[in-house]
């Protein structure tokens, strides 16, 4: 055999090996995506059942929890929130309005320009949904595109000359879009979008959120447990209102919902 034909054989072997690796990767990707899809479906069902179990009545339960109409459940939640002086949030999708309340007094109203509710919440048993909504949820964590408090650190001037330099400076007010997500202890996530901010900013925020959820699900999957389906309520308000809502709410604010 001459060297040319040996070289040709090696090339052919390499090519077939590369092909095998490529096909292997694709098969793995396929298997993974189908698995992910199946598990997502199962987890949606599981979460639905778990909400129904936690807040609703199980079929074999002896004393069923009675159904409270949604408007009364919302009133009950607001009434509970009114007992504390801190700022709380009410989201009323029926009247398309989000309000800030302090001790039961409505201090700010933000009309909703649009909203979307995860179908899981609509698929809950009415008793479960009303029980879920009759006590206020608490914000456990949040993420946002703006800071809660826009703190600027300033070193004290050494003398009057240095102080005079700052004297006539106008404060810089940055117009940053406030996209934020509140993670509630009931498992629901409230995503607030400024209505005017369409296009790229919105796309980036949604992509980030989805990536975060995907990463969270993957890590749960790798730990061998079933990832949880996260019900989301997405509301759109004006850019100024979004900023006000976010900045006004304390870190662990209470939230009442009417779907």
């Amino acid at each position: 055999m001459d060297s040319n034909s040996t070289e040709g054989l090696t090339k052919a072997k390499k090519k077939s090996l590369l092909q095998k690796i490529f096909i292997g990767i694709i098969i793995l990707l396929f298997a993974f995506s189908l698995g992910y899809f199946t598990i997502s479906m199962i987890s949606a069902n599981y979460t639905l059942q778990s909400y129904n179990r936690t807040y609703g009545t199980s079929d074999d339960e002896a004393s069923p929890v009675s159904f409270v109409p949604y408007h009364i459940a919302f009133l009950e939640a607001r009434h509970t929130m009114s007992k504390v002086d801190s700022i709380s949030l009410s989201v009323n999708l029926n009247d398309t309005i989000a309000t800030l309340e302090m001790g039961g007094v409505v201090v700010f109203e933000a009309p909703l320009e649009g909203f979307r509710v995860s179908p899981l919440l609509r698929a809950l048993k009415p008793e479960a949904l009303s029980n879920l909504l009759r006590s206020p949820a608490r914000v456990v964590s949040y993420n946002a595109t703006i800071e809660k408090e826009p703190i600027t650190v300033k070193q004290a001037p050494r003398d009057t000359t240095e102080a005079a330099l700052d004297d006539d400076e106008l404060p810089v007010v940055t117009r940053q879009a406030a996209f934020f997500t509140l993670h509630l202890d009931s498992g629901i996530r409230i995503v607030v979008m400024p209505h005017e901010e369409g296009g790229f900013d919105r796309l980036v925020y949604i992509a980030r959120q989805n990536l975060y959820l995907f990463k969270q699900r993957l890590s749960v999957l790798f730990k061998g447990s079933l990832p949880e389906y996260v019900p989301i309520i997405m509301i759109e308000v004006s850019a100024d209102d979004a900023k006000t809502l976010f900045r006004a709410l304390p870190e662990h604010a209470q939230v009442a919902l009417k779907l």
Binding site: L29, H71, T152, T244
Partner: protein
């Protein structure tokens, strides 16, 4: 020779020869292979990206199939619940002061003044700048307006500003002893001041052009006309909602 034989036929012949030479089967085969690989490679990503929508779609279908209706309550229980709801609604309504109160929005630097549950005035104000003043890494002050429910604790006309330490440090001046004459400044707080406690005031300002901006050291500044209306409307004890 007519024009067809002379001009058209050679072109048609050439075109048919060219078409015969095109390997249609090969092109179809390769297009098929390329499409197959494209689908194979991108399908997993499409499945991953659209999984949330498909799950939501599935849940929506399930929701329509379930067709839940709210369970019927017996009339007595229903009436009892509605009564309780009425009571709660009344209690919530009663939380809103009947007299005068003011609501201050520190994000937009605006205020709304209410009396007898009606809006009587609204406008711009200035609230805390969120500046953290640091002196030699030893002392620091945070200039922010506190949030919460307050009450008017006192009202003064022609208030005198008793300058705190930070006012001197901010100007690069040495801090004088307590009670020193340089601590008292006249005319800078406007014609009126309403105390909220802990040294926080609602007062006027010389810097009217900064109204609507976060520039204060924690107090709430109002324009001259607004301040007068607020001063005359809010009695001592009136509620101040700051968020």
């Amino acid at each position: 020779m007519d024009w067809k034989e002379k001009y058209l036929n050679p072109v048609l012949n050439k075109a048919s020869e060219f078409l015969k030479e095109i390997p249609f089967k090969k092109i179809l085969r390769y297009t098929g292979i390329i499409l197959f690989w494209l689908v194979l490679v991108f399908l997993p990503f499409i499945i991953l990206v659209y999984t949330p929508s498909m799950v939501n779609g599935y849940l929506s279908l399930k929701y329509s199939a379930l067709n839940y209706t709210a369970p019927d309550e017996d009339e007595v229980a229903k009436q009892k619940m509605e009564k309780e709801a009425d009571r709660m609604a009344k209690r919530l309504e009663a939380a809103t002061p009947r007299g005068a109160y003011i609501v201050i929005n520190t994000t937009t630097n605006t205020f709304r003044l209410y009396n007898k549950r009606e809006l009587v005035r609204e406008g711009n104000c200035s609230t805390g700048s969120y500046v953290k003043l640091v002196k030699d890494d030893e002392r620091e002050w945070m200039f922010k307006t506190p949030k919460g429910i307050f009450r008017i604790q006192g009202k003064v006309t022609n208030p005198v500003w008793r300058k705190p330490d930070w006012a001197f440090i901010e100007e690069g001046l040495p801090v004088p002893p307590a009670g020193h004459a340089s601590r008292f400044e006249y005319g800078v707080l406007g014609d009126y001041a309403l105390s909220l406690g802990d040294g926080y005031l609602i007062h006027g300002t010389l810097y009217q052009r900064f109204l609507g901006m976060p520039v204060t050291h924690g107090c709430v500044r109002l324009g001259d006309d607004d301040l007068e209306v607020v001063f005359r409307t809010l009695p001592i004890g009136a509620k101040v909602f700051i968020f």
